[in-house]
């Protein structure tokens, strides 16, 4: 298993490297340079040239990329010109915020999705199945930013029971309970789509497993139905669901961009959008590298868990 993990981590290196090359060249292909973005209407050729020189952007592209790469290898992510602080400080701060949000919604969607999936499979074609399947369909189809605004409108503006935005109360607060209150709306909104996907997949996977011979055998030997479902069927179904949860982790990270904007969550998704619009190359590169690394790790983790659960994969 350890060998497998090391091999997978090794494969991740070219993926990440390739990604930084692509991002770097896409960023440089976007028209407009940082100096123009900073100077706005004052961007005379003279002012732009002077500012680019001060920002170190007057060197050839390839040279800029290799300078960046060498610095990264030494652990130096550079300094963001648009935020005027080290890139690594900003990324650490904001990626933790995203992890909290994405983590909470991943837990939420896994629990809800699995429960809904198992329930609908066991009660196939019952009214509960129909209702949940319908709700799941709506959940998958709703645009999450719209749902977010709707939630803010209901819970914060109309009923005034939850805060509209932010991660902590602006005055006072700052403890765990405060964080939970602020997490509730964004984490729920973010988890809706993934819940739907997981629920549907769990249902399908459970239905398939429930038709297997060993389930019939288990029932025939007089095992309690509850044990049949959770000991035997659920565990087997989980093997198919786990990798999808891993993929959903990636989608949750990506979806966080909208949710972070709507709920003013100080996460890395929003940071990346701002960094792109200000042409802050170092910040974009650093952010993308971290998010991609997280994505790779999530998938690896899902595979490892799958290996642990599925005796057929153990060799």
């Amino acid at each position: 298993m350890v060998g497998y993990i090391i091999k997978r981590l090794f494969y991740a290196v070219p993926v990440l490297l390739g990604l930084t090359v692509i991002v770097f060249f896409i960023m440089t292909l976007i028209p407009g340079d940082p100096a123009t973005a900073i100077l706005g209407s004052y961007a005379t050729p003279e002012n732009v040239e002077r500012l680019n020189r001060q920002l170190g952007l007057d060197k050839p592209l390839v040279q800029q990329y290799f300078i960046w790469l060498m610095n990264i290898l030494e652990g130096d992510f550079g300094r963001s010109y648009s935020l005027n602080r080290p890139v690594i400080d900003e990324i650490t701060e904001r990626f933790s915020a995203t992890l909290i949000l994405a983590g909470a919604s991943l837990i939420l969607c896994s629990i809800l999705g699995l429960l809904a999936g198992v329930y609908t499979a066991v009660h196939q074609f019952g009214w509960g199945d129909r209702l949940i399947t319908f709700l799941v369909l709506i959940g998958i189809s709703l645009p999450s930013f719209w749902l977010g605004l709707l939630m803010i409108f209901l819970f914060a503006v109309t009923w005034k029971i939850l805060p509209a935005s932010g991660m902590f109360a602006i005055y006072g607060g700052g403890d765990f309970a405060d964080l939970l209150i602020h997490l509730l709306l964004p984490a729920t909104t973010l988890s809706i789509v993934a819940t739907g996907v997981i629920a549907r997949l769990t249902r399908a996977s459970m239905l398939e497993v429930l038709r297997q011979d060993y389930i019939r055998t288990a029932r025939a030997k007089g095992l309690e139905e509850r044990k049949v479902i959770y000991r035997h069927a659920f565990r087997a179904a989980l093997v198919n669901v786990i990798p999808v949860i891993g993929i959903q982790a990636g989608f949750v990270l990506g979806g966080a961009v909208y949710i972070e904007t709507v709920f003013q969550w100080p996460g890395i998704g929003r940071m990346l959008v701002q960094a792109i619009s200000t042409r802050d190359l170092l910040l974009v590169q650093g952010g993308v590298l971290i998010v991609a690394a997280a994505y790779v790790l999530f998938n690896l983790l899902a595979d490892v868990v799958q290996h642990a659960l599925d005796p057929r994969l153990k060799k």
Partner: protein
């Protein structure tokens, strides 16, 4: 599994109870003497010399002072950290007497050396702290040849040419005075540890969450009313409105046009509006094509229904512009100027006279950018108005940075018209950079439509070297009359800054400079 479900249910119950218990804490109104302001974005830096955005200026103006500042409600300068100044006969030397007994928030003394440090840091590439930049707006002070400490409390600026806007540039955030000791201490991180002399001192900056400033109890101009101000960055306009409605903000700036009516009709809020030094216009390519004919340029001014643009597209968040200078510069604005009336018949006859009926025109539109308001719908409305007088306008839309890359080098060979908007701090800036012959793109200026009138050039040069404000005003007023008639631009709108304050907020007003000054604001 049963136990798992039980645990989950228990956890849910506990967390709901926990949430309920802290509910009041989180929802509690902020204390009476703490004001929460909803900003449109995270500040980039709180080092006044390194930033360019109005969003950052709103915080800075409360933490720092300049040598001079704008009078309350006007765009005229008055003493601040300098108590008096003399301008030499030739307009090239400014000597300031500094205010005694002022201290920076870090306890160090404000004196002539501190002033010299500030301008040397920005302008002198060999200065030990020049690397704390870059300083994108330092060209505001490019006329400065040297800063001399005459004595402890007197400082002299020598300019390489007479430059009348110098005083209002000093009132701009780029001229705010920072603590030299704090720059030395924090170096490149000074922008996150700002120290000034202002009515509020910096307390805390929590990334993407808030910037907190607290009252300076030792302020030279009388202490502020509030104990503290919290600036919250909320980039999404809908979320900002929701926070205002749910009580999470006391003041919010830049209310989206769609929400203005909601707040105006609600007794719990006060809507404030203030026209600023902003002008939204169309650059016309006076070098080639139909627009090279003055009659066609006047015709498009007549053909565009500005009232409809301002009232319908912008929903009353702007006023119709009459000429190149915004009325907010009250002392330099020519009151006798009237906007071109909406007169499609006159437009048609002018176009006919010029022989350009049915001309095909290319029109650059941007998706959005600093001060551009609602450019895409505005562009479409303009296109429709021009179609009514028989002009066939083709729109090309670009993202802001690409747009600037297209427009700033000049419209020649590419387009006949382009949208543009400027916000300036002195009546000199925009016409000097965008209407002079010497400001054609080939000369490094912003005159992208190649307008040229020797009389206008002469008036602008004279206004620059005049040191008397009344004399300057005379030149600017004459310039506006000529430019209105020559019509190098279509003069469209002057944007009104707006803000909403909860009815608990008192003593708050908007400034024509668009800065946010909170010293005299109270909360009941």
């Amino acid at each position: 599994m049963k136990t798992l479900i039980r645990t989950l249910v228990a956890l849910c119950v506990i967390s709901i109870l926990a949430l309920g218990g802290t509910d009041n804490l989180a929802r509690a109104q902020t204390p009476d003497d703490v004001l929460v302001v909803g900003q449109i974005a995270e500040p980039k830096s709180l080092d006044p010399q390194t930033v360019t955005a109005i969003n950052d200026f709103r915080i800075l103006m409360n933490v720092y002072d300049g040598l001079v500042r704008y009078k309350d409600g006007a765009l005229e300068v008055e003493p601040a950290l300098a108590t008096a100044w003399q301008i030499s006969e030739d307009g090239k030397s400014y000597t300031f007497t500094l205010r005694e007994g002022v201290e920076f928030h870090d306890g160090t003394r404000f004196d002539a050396e501190a002033v010299k440090f500030n301008f040397d840091r920005m302008l002198d590439e060999t200065h030990p702290y020049h690397d704390t930049g870059p300083f994108p707006l330092s060209f505001f002070f490019s006329a400065i040849e040297g800063v001399t400490v005459v004595d402890d409390m007197t400082v002299r600026f020598d300019l390489n040419e007479p430059y009348a806007p110098f005083l209002s540039n000093l009132a701009y955030p780029t001229g705010l005075i920072v603590s030299p000791a704090a720059v030395a201490k924090h170096g490149k991180d000074f922008g996150r540890n700002p120290v000034g002399t202002g009515a509020f001192e910096f307390a805390e900056w929590e990334g993407n969450t808030k910037v907190v400033v607290t009252r300076n109890d030792n302020y030279w101009d009388g202490n502020a009313e509030l104990e503290a101000v919290i600036f919250r960055p909320i980039t999404d306009a809908n979320t900002r409105v929701a926070e205002m409605l749910s009580g999470g903000l006391d003041i919010m700036v830049e209310v989206p046009p769609d929400n203005v009516a909601t707040f105006a009709s609600d007794g719990d809020y006060n809507l404030l509006e203030q026209a600023g030094p902003h002008v939204w216009f169309l650059i016309l390519n006076a070098k080639e094509g139909p627009m090279a004919d003055k009659r066609v340029r006047q015709a498009v001014n007549y053909a565009i229904n500005k009232k409809e643009l301002v009232e319908d597209v912008l929903q009353g968040t702007a006023e119709i512009a009459a000429g190149p200078t915004p009325p907010a510069f009250a002392w330099a604005y020519n009151n006798s100027l009237t906007p071109y009336p909406y007169d499609p018949d006159k437009a048609r006859s002018l176009i006919k006279e010029a022989g350009h009926e049915g001309a095909k025109l290319t029109f650059y539109v941007t998706e959005g950018g600093s001060g551009m308001l609602d450019p895409v719908p505005m562009g479409a409305a303009i296109q429709a108005d021009l179609a009514k007088v028989g002009l066939d306008v083709e729109i090309e839309t670009y993202e802001w940075n690409s747009f600037l890359d297209k427009v700033n080098p000049g419209l020649e060979g590419k387009a006949d018209m382009a949208q543009m908007a400027w916000m300036t701090n002195d009546p000199d800036t925009l016409p000097f950079l965008a209407l002079r012959t010497g400001a054609w793109p080939s000369e490094g200026g912003f005159n992208s439509g190649y307008y040229s009138n020797p009389k206008v050039d002469e008036l602008l040069e004279s206004a620059r070297s005049a040191t008397d404000q009344a004399e300057r005003a005379k030149y600017y007023k004459e310039m506006q009359t000529i430019v209105r008639d020559d019509a190098p631009w279509v003069f469209v709108a002057n944007w009104k800054q707006n803000a909403v304050a909860s009815s608990r907020v008192d003593g708050f007003s908007l400034q024509p400079s668009f800065f946010l000054i909170l010293k005299d604001t109270r909360k009941n």
